[in-house]
Amino acid sequence: MSHAVTEKRPSSLKGGSLPRWSAWAVALAATGAGLGISAAAGLDSSIQWALIAALLFVLVNYVLAVRVEGRRQAKDRLATSLVWVAFLLAVIPLASLIWETVSRGLKVFDVYFLTHSMGVVSDTEPGGGIYHAIIGTLEQVALATLIAVPIGVLTAVYLVEYGRGRLAKTVTFFVDVMTGIPSIVAGLFILSIMLILDLQPFGFAGSLALAILMMPVVVRSTEEMLKLVPNELREASLALGVPKWRTIMKVVLPTSIGGITTGVMLAVARIMGETAPVLLLVWGADYINNNPFEGAQASLPLYIYEQYANSAGSPAAYNRAWAAALALIAIVMILNLAARGIARWKAPKTGR
């Protein structure tokens, strides 16, 4: 086929080209070859055959294109196949993670698991559940949200509606920097206060650290949403003699409430999975503690860590860890999906 193309080349403006299906064919062949080589060489790890296949795919595509289409097109093909490989490399871990969590988590995931605590179950035995951890997580996250949302929304209102000059610039910069604070540092901050005041671990301390992590996220997303509110709405309201604060409360915030809710829910989903501050400040417990203001409390992410770390490799504990991970991912994903749903449903009309 290739020599036929080279013969034709001088007579036509367009050089030879590979058929559209060639990339797919190469991908299929590379996967097959990767599997074959690793079977022949006795390699047991799926990472290895995947890497061989990816390498073969990129190389064969390039060589084919050089022979048929010329060097420039071949470089283009090389870039295209590399970009495809990059995409697949990102999808594989996610797929594996979700598959493993669901398949291993479902082993002990049932109503009993959701409604019982670890109070009388030792870490290496089967049985027990995550009821106490769910209670802890919900209370801590709810309190953190109650603190972070008003502060975050008001800050965003300040930055968008009032903020000019140096203070606003400083706040914007530090909100950005605050987004990058490691969760463990927020935990250490509250811990240092607790050490000075000589306090014992309790749920609300964890909420404070989570609130610190949540605030910048809420500010950022609310700010973006407030900026989307058309200026005409503000001007119309102000022209009617409505005071600025009532304009904000009655016009600006209601217009962007969908986006703000979305941002808050995404922020909640983010802090729900935070383990480190809870580990330092709430300590975790095996029994049910409904009071976030006194005594150690459990939390879902911390429960996963404890089941993994304190169980000396007991399969029962690993199963519980996977099941709790499944529950956590389910909650986080539901929050994410709901947030996106609200965003689509209540998207501000920007007069497009």
């Binding site: 390699l43 990102a90 800050t155 920097v177 604070i181 490691p182 993994y308």
Partner: protein
């Protein structure tokens, strides 16, 4: 920090108005307005106060710990903060944190740039949307779940790869492998790469999306291939954006706690080989050592946390500064 020209007050002050006029012309003097402005400005200031308080309290506790420290805090390889006298230093932690984050960057940045290009310039629009969504899902998975997956799924799967690296690159010394479980800084780097991939991808994607369409179309019209368009117009335009995206990712990787704590088998020595157990990171060390720490031990952990705080502050600040400067000059965000 630079100050732009926006500082001019927007409502132009009337020349010496009476109090009544002022009240009528500017809403900000009504009581409701004053309260509301105070509240919202107060929240902004509160955020600054929190940042200052974090720095202040951590410094205070860290100073307590360092005054007790019998070893050199910056250069000692030891971590015996519970002993009498307490001896601890951050050399191993700094090494482990930097190495694992660098490995993560080396793996994640090219892949992220590839995915971002895929979304913006290669995939059909609808597929691009789906992929963006998948990447967002990747970002939403809690770090402890990554840790669990890393420790129980990724680690056993890496034995084959480790064997390869040992066979073919073992002579460098960097990839020598004694054959233990793959719970080394290299594995941590791979896991961190997966975890920072979403943020690097998302920021790069936004930058690539803003690259000037006209130039791309002009290049295409001149007969450039898609890759040539990307190399000549998209990548140069997006370079600073990719750099700041990488730094944001770096900030994440530096501070990641639980995934590292579950996967790494830490030890207080620096190993020339990346594949053998050894080293630790700031965040991982705090999480693992906190349980049995004495009062001095806790302060020592807070001191190491302060170092982490300062490093991430610098990295994130630099990244944000690059993004901010870009915004001002490119005009793409208008």
């Amino acid at each position: 920090m630079d100050i732009s020209t926006q500082d001019a007050p927007v409502p132009p002050p009337a020349p010496a108005p009476s109090l009544e006029q002022k009240r009528a012309s500017r809403g900000a003097t009504r009581p409701g307005d004053r309260v509301f402005l105070g509240l919202s400005r107060g929240s902004g200031i509160l955020l600054l106060v929190i940042m200052a308080a974090i720095a202040g309290f951590l410094t205070y506790r860290a100073a307590l710990a360092i005054s007790e420290d019998e070893a050199n805090f910056l250069t000692s390889f030891e971590w015996d903060a519970n002993g009498t006298p307490p001896k601890f230093g951050i050399a191993v932690l700094a090494y482990g944190t930097v190495i694992s984050s660098v490995i993560a960057m080396v793996i994640a940045v090219p892949i992220s740039v590839g995915i971002a290009l895929f979304i913006t310039h290669y995939a059909p629009r609808r597929l691009g949307g789906v992929i963006s969504y998948v990447i967002d899902l990747l970002a939403a998975v809690p770090s402890i779940v990554y840790g669990l997956w890393g420790a129980l799924v990724l680690v056993p799967h890496l034995n084959g790869l480790y064997g390869w690296l040992d066979d073919y690159l073992g002579w460098t010394g960097v990839f020598e492998w004694q054959g233990g479980a793959a719970r080394s800084l290299f594995t941590v780097g791979i896991l961190l790469a997966i975890m920072i991939l979403p943020i690097v991808t998302n920021v790069s994607r936004e930058v690539f999306r803003q690259s000037p369409q006209m130039i791309e179309e002009a290049a295409l019209a001149l007969g450039a291939t898609r890759w040539e368009v990307i190399r000549m117009s998209v990548l140069p335009f997006g370079r600073s954006g990719v750099i700041s995206a990488s730094m944001l990712g770096l900030g994440r990787a530096l501070g990641e706690t639980m995934a590292v704590a579950t996967v790494l088998s830490p030890s207080f020595l620096i190993n020339a080989s990346l594949l053998d157990p050894g080293g630790g990171t700031f965040a991982q060390n705090i999480a693992s050592k906190f349980g049995e720490a004495t009062p001095v031990g806790r302060d020592a952990l807070i001191a190491s946390g302060l170092v982490l705080f300062v490093i991430t502050l610098l990295v994130n600040g630099a990244a944000r500064a690059i993004i901010a400067r870009r915004k001002e000059y490119s005009g793409a965000n208008a």
